[in-house]
């Protein structure tokens, strides 16, 4: 047996870790990151001459469970054609047996890293609104993300928001209008989903996971589990941008209610409350007294009130002047 130097071992490790893309249209540029079941590479699509991100299983496996899960993730992404959800371009199996899928390469920053440079509350809330829009779209297509957290959200250079990592998404029900996936494929996906996430299986991230999800009550999960995660993301976004307005804090609290019945029924409802706050309108999570209503109303129509008051004062002054 030849003695292998440390240099040779490092070379062999690097060469063995790289996926074999021979026979595909992709050329690896470098590894972007890696996670529980595979790695994501920046690659060049030689046919379309564009950069893509390739998510590839890092190892072969006997059970085929991870390959199924990766393909299922690609199928779910394919069903979710929305500007706020990373689009999938292609999926397949490499010559070395590893399953992969190609998706848009998102040039941007993860939300948790970006937030340090976005100080204004209104800017952060607009980003959050777009996250709610994307999640609401997925819910409308019958998909639950189940792992929403700042690390899984990318913000592009033009402020576009993309929700990533749908690896543990759950299919709740078939969409009203069928997407490109056939009924059989969808049913297969559902049965696989049920198989892998039986009662007691805990999937998600502590701190962002709804209590019922943390208890492994897979059958009881619905859109409100994602609403809880959105509430945790909103709380995260409120860190470091000064005093939190009470209506916004109330929105986060409502979203993170222990009992799902106390939360927003959907991401869409939550997003609407954020939009109402940004427009200076009352939010459903925060019942107002007359005084608070007056303060909000005053704050919203500040300019008009100042103009009217100025006009009235001038009018009185002029009236008194002529009477003299």
């Amino acid at each position: 047996m030849n003695w292998l130097s440390d240099d040779a071992i490092s070379r062999l490790q690097a060469a063995s870790a790289l996926p074999d893309l021979a026979g595909t249209r992709y050329r690896i540029i470098h590894r972007i990151g890696s996670g529980g079941m595979g790695a994501v590479y920046l690659a060049e699509d030689a046919v379309l001459e564009r950069r893509v991100a390739l998510k590839i299983l890092d190892l072969p496996e006997d059970s085929g469970e991870l390959a199924t899960r990766l393909l299922r993730e690609a199928q779910i992404l394919a069903r979710l054609e929305h500007p706020g959800i990373v689009p999938v371009h292609d999926a397949g199996t490499l010559s070395d047996g590893r399953v992969f899928y190609a998706m848009k390469f998102v040039e941007g920053q993860r939300l948790d890293r970006l937030i340090v440079s976005v100080g204004a509350l209104s800017d952060r809330l607009r980003v959050f609104q777009r996250i709610c829009d994307a999640v609401a779209f997925a819910h409308a297509r019958g998909i639950l993300h189940r792992d929403l957290k700042p690390d899984n959200i990318m913000v592009g250079p033009f402020g576009e928001v993309l929700v990533m990592d749908w690896g543990i998404a759950k299919i709740l029900h078939q969409p009203a209008a069928p997407a490109a996936i056939s009924g059989d494929e969808a049913r297969d996906a559902i049965s696989r989903d049920t198989l892998k996430t039986g009662h007691g299986t805990i999937l998600g991230t502590p701190g962002y996971m709804a209590p019922e999800q943390a208890r492994g009550e897979v059958e009881n999960l619905d859109e409100r589990a994602d609403v809880y995660s959105l509430g945790a993301i909103l709380q995260f976004l409120l860190i470091g941008c000064g005093a939190t307005p009470r209506p916004v804090a109330a929105i986060a609290l409502k979203a993170m209610a222990e009992d799902p019945a106390g939360r927003y029924a959907s991401a869409s409802e939550m997003g609407q409350d954020i939009a109402r706050f940004l427009d200076g309108l009352p939010v459903s999570a925060y019942p107002e007294t007359i005084l608070r209503k007056a303060v909000r109303w005053g704050s919203r129509y500040q300019l008009a009130i100042v103009l009217v008051l100025t006009y009235l004062v001038l009018r009185i002054v002029l009236l008194m002047w002529f009477r003299r």
Binding site: W3, I9, L12, D58, D62, D147
Partner: protein, 255 residues
């Protein structure tokens, strides 16, 4: 991608078609146990020999005897019955077994050996001794269990990759792909990074096109990876353990 997502559920077990030396070592069949010993010893004897030399400061003669007896006793004394991959990695377990063996059993083992104890494994100790000299091993590795574990980890990778290279050589030779292997040797196995020739230089040296260099290297690396993972499979008892070990072996651990 995230590293802290928790995925529950039971770990997959090896399908019956996969042969695992760890499982075979617990077999009632002596032939199967002997085969398991050979497989485990082939991958681990050098790391363990070096461990005896470095950690315990044994002379090369004593380390030879210890290594021989240790691997024989792994089977005879059913050491591997106590191995639980959920609790420790195999090399950590073997290190602890080696310590226990050294502390409690070596004297008895030595007596047995002098009385004609069987030796099942043929090992090239001169090569291992030479490697200790070449490897520029710092004596500080013996200072802490963690440093020793790291050292064993590295030596195990070296040992397993060495076995995979040998198997790849045989494989290429059988298939008439000696040039491919020589190219792999000249490019990927060269000792120092500074001695590494470029693709154009290798193409000239081997009298082939530069694109052939790319293709030949892709082929041998593909086969090397396959063989190395096959070897690793033999050293693990479940799919979950294999995946964990393979990630460490290939340096693809989650970030």
């Amino acid at each position: 991608m995230t590293g802290d997502t928790k995925i529950g559920g039971r770990g997959g077990q090896f399908p019956a078609t996969r042969w695992s030396a760890i499982l075979a070592a617990r077999s009632k069949d002596p032939a199967e146990r002997s085969r398991a010993l050979e497989t485990i010893a082939a991958a681990y004897w050098k790391p363990i020999y070096k461990y005896f030399r470095l950690r315990w400061g044994k002379s090369n003669e004593d380390a030879k005897d210890l290594t021989q007896e240790f691997f024989t006793r792994i089977i005879e004394k059913d050491y591997l019955d106590g191995f639980d991959p959920a609790k420790a990695r195999l090399r950590t377990f073997l290190r602890l077994c080696a310590d226990r063996f050294l502390a409690n059993e070596f004297k008895a083992a030595k007596r047995l050996k002098r009385g004609g104890g069987a030796q099942h494994v043929s090992l090239d100790f001169e090569a291992a001794e030479a490697e200790l000299g070449r490897g520029r091993v710092s004596l500080s590795v013996a200072a802490s269990p963690q440093a020793m574990d790291d050292f064993l980890e590295k030596e195990f990778v070296r040992s397993l990759f060495g076995l995979a290279v040998d198997k790849l050589r045989e494989f290429c030779s059988r298939r008439g792909k000696q040039v491919q292997f020589q190219l792999f040797e000249a490019y990927d196995l060269v000792e120092e990074e500074s001695e590494r020739a470029g693709y154009a230089e290798l193409a000239r040296r081997f009298g082939i096109a530069t694109t052939d260099v790319t293709n030949y290297l892709a082929f041998t690396r593909h086969e090397f990876r396959r063989i190395a993972l096959e070897k690793l499979r033999e050293m693990t008892a479940s799919d979950a353990e294999f995946r964990r070990e393979a990630r460490a072996l290939l340096g693809v651990e989650a970030e």
